[in-house]
Symmetry: C2
Subunit: 199 residues, 2 copies
DNA sequence: GCCTCGATGTCAGTCGCTGACATCAGGATA
DNA sequence: TATCCTGATGTCAGCGACTGACATCGAGGC
């Protein structure tokens, strides 16, 4: 490794590259090691070579640093739903959206997702934030379905069902000793839901 | 009105009756008038003739003062589900629970619920708290179903469906220009869900 | 080489929330 | 009746999340 590269890495401070990413990484590490409550924003910022004030310029609050990617996920889902063939039934369009999210839930990000999820599971405030993010996803999917001509309450109910499938698939994806990929998990969870509703 | 009664009402301060209730009332009034963010806990306490410290002895945080009744609601739902005839299908047991909640959703409390709900709708943090309370209700219902011999994932799915019905019924109940009572709204919303699922 | 502009730092302040300790009212007890 | 005990409340000090106002820095355009 060249001296120049070492110099860059060693000086991950003010005006260093990817301040936002450094904050996200530092936050997850500290939340995982010492717990969310026992971590101060000042500590996260210091570990990233920045100040508390800068943290709050990048993230609305101490929780949001764990949910920065949720807009990307929403866009993936929405595009997947919108891009389904117009002949597809609502639930199939939602399934297409969930499968499109495999761009985010790939093997490289599994470890990150596992760490993040264990942090969230350990704290009530973070679980609250996660719930409202999931509700926002459901709302975005419902909007997209309406734009496809699906009327209420079918649009919102289908979206809710889709999020239920998402949760089951995601729980399994981050579970230890799991060898299936995102697509298989989505398809399997959806099949289970269909079987249950049909019975 | 006797002088004694006036004296009592006028001195709703330290060691006055129902400190907790006074805090809840003051909080709702201030949240409704000036907004949740623009209201400080010290102001709520002062209006109730108490101090900020006492507020936090009665409620875990500034949001919780609006959700104090959720334990009662949970108990009503759980008892309603548990008390359904053992021959009843899971979804019918859940329906029994929702109908049992009519003890809380009666005409006298409608105005209070409307004010409370408009405060919650206006603030993201309060919506987060509401979501986790609803999730807790679903979880309690699912537990009760399991104790009735319903296995997973039917128990949790039925509970989620029940909460979906609850939300629809509640939204309609607090909507203006609504003349139906809680029981009719629950039955109607459940019928809609059944029709949608069957189609 | 100067200027502008966005990102960051600094500082002071408010408010949510907590622990430790003091105080008060009312009921039990001697 | 005087005393004591207990639970509810008050007081005080302090931490940490979050914000507004203003200063400073670095990189790119002129």
């Amino acid at each position: 490794m060249s001296a120049a590269v070492i110099a860059i890495i060693g000086r991950m401070t003010r005006w260093g590259p990817d301040a936002r990413g450094r904050l996200m990484k530092s936050a997850l590490e500290l939340y995982a090691k010492r717990g969310y409550d026992q971590t101060t924003v000042a500590e996260i910022a210091e570990r990233a070579g920045l100040t508390e004030r800068t943290f709050f310029r990048h993230f609305a609050d101490k929780k949001e640093v764990l949910f920065a990617g949720s807009n990307d996920l929403r866009d993936l889902l929405v595009r997947g739903v919108a891009g389904a063939p117009s002949s597809a039934a609502p639930i199939e369009a939602v399934a297409a959206g969930l499968l499109a999210a495999s761009a985010v839930f790939n093997e490289e990000r599994r470890d990150y997702s596992m760490r993040r999820q264990s942090v969230i599971a350990a704290n009530a405030e973070l679980r609250e934030r996660e719930l409202i993010k999931l509700a926002a996803l459901a709302s975005a999917i419902a909007d997209t379905l309406r734009r496809r001509g699906v009327s209420d309450p079918a649009a919102s109910l289908t979206a809710e069902a889709g999020i239920a499938v998402f949760r089951v698939a995601f729980d399994r994806w981050v579970a230890a000793h799991n060898e299936l990929g995102w697509s298989e998990l989505v398809r399997g969870s959806l099949a289970e839901l269909k079987a249950l509703v049909a019975s």
